[in-house]
Symmetry: C2
């Protein structure tokens, strides 16, 4: 069975040596000193290793069941969820007004990572609740907040997000679920929603569904969509539970992975719903929490890669097979460990350099979200909006690829379920799809974010990269700054191509959107590695004696710059071929 | 449920317009005229669509069972297998002396593709039998051949390949299974083998295991390995079945995919075995059939991508979601079909251009195998030996990637098992691992094949590419020849880098082996597309009126050249960074 250990040292390095949180002016960051973050992450890591990781395979094998209208989670999930609630882990960054601890989102992210690495399907129950909490917190009336949030903060009640219907996912304008206004100000919700993660289960007293629906008589299409709270069990004015609402589970889906999470078809048959925010402004309410939700999915991508990598590494050090061509490394044994072989190294280094770079990017994103929400820093908001599709799309694509590569280290043992490597790949696969399929992320990036606010955020990004290169002009940083400069230039050239050719035919830009997203992902990770290497050198210069760790950071970064950034020239070349070959066939010619 | 239709037109185009089989001097090819190959492939396609494809999901869902020592295949498999036997499909390219039809291997390949696309797990029972047949046919005594081959040709008895043991896969020198010589010339085989595909089942009277084992007292390591026939049920001199041999199934594995094929732990407890070929020359006996077996796995890679692509295409034409940014294409409907969107196109074109190129490469490989086996063409043998690791490694890596991309077209529907797209990806995943994991293919290519016979085969390959470019110097072929020339030059530069830097440190070559394999894969597919485009133009010039099909070939090829060949510059850049960053960490620093 796979094991998991929280990468506490890496997290601490990021928070304190790279992001230097205690030096930031963000309200709440002053509490995040080394001792505090270390204690919190260590404790989260313990729960991840001891409680959640052992349930990961159980969740996969057993899955959820649906019998007589009742959804049951796999054995052990309920107890583990109780531990999460009791430990206050669900309330970490929630508003103290509703019982939360008010910690920064960055701290929540650092805690979330071990939980997701250890058991992604399990963590989704809390993750979805947090998403619903955020939407209600941002948009609902004080009355609704007071009624629902305190129990959602503690996960006594969990939450869901209901967007997709059988005939529409991305194109929510086609939505058919309807909301009929009632005399008491509530609405009757009728329709079917599918792919509802954590849609129902046996770990909480109530489930609070957030449902997108169209108010009868409202505008056509996406402009007529509103957001509603629909509780599974009605809540009276004293906060006590009453009757069942007219919402039920139609079935649960058989899926490729995340078997421990119940993916439900939800049927709303005139269920009582409460409007969140304004009528017909449902999409806006959903979008305000999009950056946070998508960053969370990006985290899932690299967190699964991290868990898979840890196990691939153990196997590579343990499994004896073949000999080092430059001379036996384990001459007294029957063979050398796999890790002596250059192609196994290449594979492991790709995993390691991706995961550490991805973690840095995600934490930086969380930091920017804090700057916006706690300091009203609009530049930070613009930047994280630009980075969000990259974090979601690139990190989940690569996270899956890396989980697949980790599986490959095991040979045939990676394909059988016994070793657990298949599950990492199967679970990671969903992150490329939900919360906006990655093609949609690319479209969001190229079609919206690049030009947002007159292109000022992407220009700020390029300026930031330039400044970072300027700041480290010493010889030893050249492997970083040279590669980053080059990749950044190529990314700018791609943006220029879109501007010059997208005018006459938008397909010239859209045909290259996926490549651009990946290219920008590499530039972002290149930037992260430049920062991390500079931080590592600066620690070494200051006499930090953990030289093995710090030198490994620098060398891992050098690997990424040398071996991964060359992808940018490939993406640029593809982009510059435009739409001609992409759109060359008629639909019938396929 | 996914559907499948054999790409008969594409296969005919390859056989007759590109490979021009009837014009080749290979014995047996004269029978392969258009009518004959069309009739055979059509018929195979019918079985694939009507019999095998409907059982694909059944096999996945139900899987094989192991109870009271008996392995059972999923419902319907046995009847389908009977149909395969009765139709003579298992005997197509087998030696007429043992009841085969003596058709070329190329013809067998063209028939195999639809079978594998429709149901990979099912086809493995026959595929493994064919592999065992080939090894016995090439190396066993006439007596053993007469005893075992006729029933293996008809698949009344199926076959297996037993190499892997719990502690050794790639490094077979560590093998522990032992063979003790008996007075009657037979051997007693004792040991445990794992990951034995089609190791046991209920579809044939007998299973003929080919087992690698070490004769007691023989040389240490890989040089002491011999090959044995070990029948599940003993066969007497009249060919009648007798008692059970001392071989049994320990368990069957739970796997990520190919659930319809029983992957067995096989226990040999002093089982009677018969030596195949010479003592201690077991590896050589296995290697002679390696090109064929690995080509068959490469075929599995792209055949799964083909099946996944067909369904992604249907979905992309059918599913209405969003609007074409350049103007509605389905103005009377609620939305346009997915296929109008540039990023969906990009995705589909990547799948289509890969699969068609991969098919061409595989058929060319099969053609070269025929040239060697039927004409004793040693140059063809050298070339296919060089191409084999590329066909196996590149086509299975990309085949899996493309199946994953096909799944992505479906959004959330691709992740739930109901639509069958998950199965294509899960099944395709094994092809990257078995028959030599792809890292081993890369090692075989760079460590052995490049330098084989003084490098003459790789030089012949480059000459062939050059000649192909020379042969098509007209303007309209420039998108092909320019890109191919460029990619081929980059591949040569990579080879040069290995020569210059691999001497002082072999890790400089081995660290780039995986990149080289992919780079060579792209050059091979570029060569295939150049040939196919030239053939299409030549057909158009000759007045062939199927212009939609022929123009689509050309445009699909242009897509591949423009959008896929740029990967070569990335791989070259990676390769030229050598071993430094790959091998930079100590094992403890990971």
């Amino acid at each position: 069975m796979p094991s998991y250990t929280a990468p506490t040292k890496d997290i601490q390095f990021l928070l304190h040596d790279v992001l230097k949180v205690s030096e930031q002016s963000v309200p709440g960051y002053d509490e995040m000193d080394r001792d505090f973050t270390s204690a919190v992450v260590e404790e989260a890591g313990k729960i991840a290793s001891d409680v959640l990781a052992p349930l990961n395979a159980v969740g996969d094998t057993e899955g959820c069941t649906f019998e007589n209208g009742v959804v049951r989670t796999p054995k052990g999930f309920k107890d583990a969820f109780e531990q999460m609630k009791e430990g206050g882990w669900t309330a970490l960054d929630c508003d103290p007004e509703y019982g939360g601890q008010g910690l920064p989102y960055l701290m929540m992210t650092a805690v979330n990572e071990p939980f997701v690495s250890a058991n992604m399907a399990f963590n989704m129950y809390q993750g979805l609740t947090h998403g619903a909490y955020s939407a209600i917190h941002a948009h609902a009336s004080d009355e609704l907040k007071a009624k629902f949030l305190p129990k959602m903060v503690t996960c006594e009640w969990t939450g869901t997000m209901n967007l997709t219907e059988p005939h529409c996912g991305t194109d929510l304008g086609l939505m058919r679920t309807k909301a009929e206004p009632q005399a008491d100000g509530s609405f009757k919700i009728t329709g079917q929603k599918i792919f509802i993660s954590a849609g129902d289960h046996d770990m909480s007293e109530n489930v609070i569904h957030l449902v997108l629906a169209k108010i009868v008589g409202g505008p056509e299409g996406i402009k007529g969509v509103s957001l509603f709270i629909v509780p599974k069990i009605m809540v009276d004015d004293n906060g006590d539970l009453g009757e069942r609402n007219a919402v039920s589970v139609g079935k649960i889906e058989e899926k490729m992975g995340i078997h421990g999470n119940a993916t439900c078809v939800m049927n709303y048959d005139g269920a009582v719903g409460y409007l969140v925010g304004e009528e017909h402004k449902g999409m806006r309410a959903m979008f305000t929490m999009m950056n946070e939700a998508r960053l969370g999915v990006g985290l899932q991508g690299y967190a699964q890669a991290e868990a898979a990598y840890q196990n691939a590494l153990i196997y590579a050090k343990d499994r004896l097979q073949g000999r080092d061509v430059t001379g036996a490394k384990n001459p007294d044994g029957p063979a050398d460990p796999l890790i002596v072989h250059p192609d196994i190294r290449r594979n492991l280094m790709e995993q390691k350099s991706f995961v550490e770079g991805a973690r840095a990017l995600t934490y930086w994103g969380a930091n920017l979200i804090d700057k916006h929400s706690r300091e009203h820093d609009e530049a930070a908001h613009g930047l994280v909006s630009l980075l969000t599709p990259v974090i979601k799309g690139f990190l989940t694509d690569k996270g899956f690829d890396m989980a697949v590569q980790a599986q490959q280290v095991y040979g045939g043992h990676g394909y059988i379920e016994e070793w657990g490597m298949s599950q990492f790949a199967r679970d990671a696969r969903i992150a490329m799809i939900y919360e906006g399929a990655n093609g949609i992320q690319a479209l969001d990036l190229v079609g919206r974010k690049l030009a947002q606010d007159g292109g000022k955020h992407v220009m700020a990004f390029f300026e930031m990269v330039k400044a970072e290169c300027k700041a480290h002009e010493d010889e030893r940083m050249k492997p970083f700054t040279d590669a980053l400069k080059n990749a950044s230039k190529q990314l700018q050239a791609a943006g220029m191509y879109f501007m010059q050719n997208g005018m006459k035919n938008p397909n010239n830009a859209l045909s290259g959107s996926y490549d651009f997203m990946h290219m920008m992902g590499h530039v972002c990770l290149g930037l992260m590695w430049t920062r991390m290497a500079a931080a590592a050198y600066s620690e070494l210069d200051a006499g930090n004696t953990d030289t093995d760790f710090l030198n490994a950071k620098i060398k891992t970064g050098e690997f990424y710059m040398a071996r991964s950034l060359p992808a940018c020239s490939m993406h640029l070349a593809r982009i510059e071929t435009g739409a001609d070959t992409v759109m060359g066939l008629t639909a019938d010619q396929f």
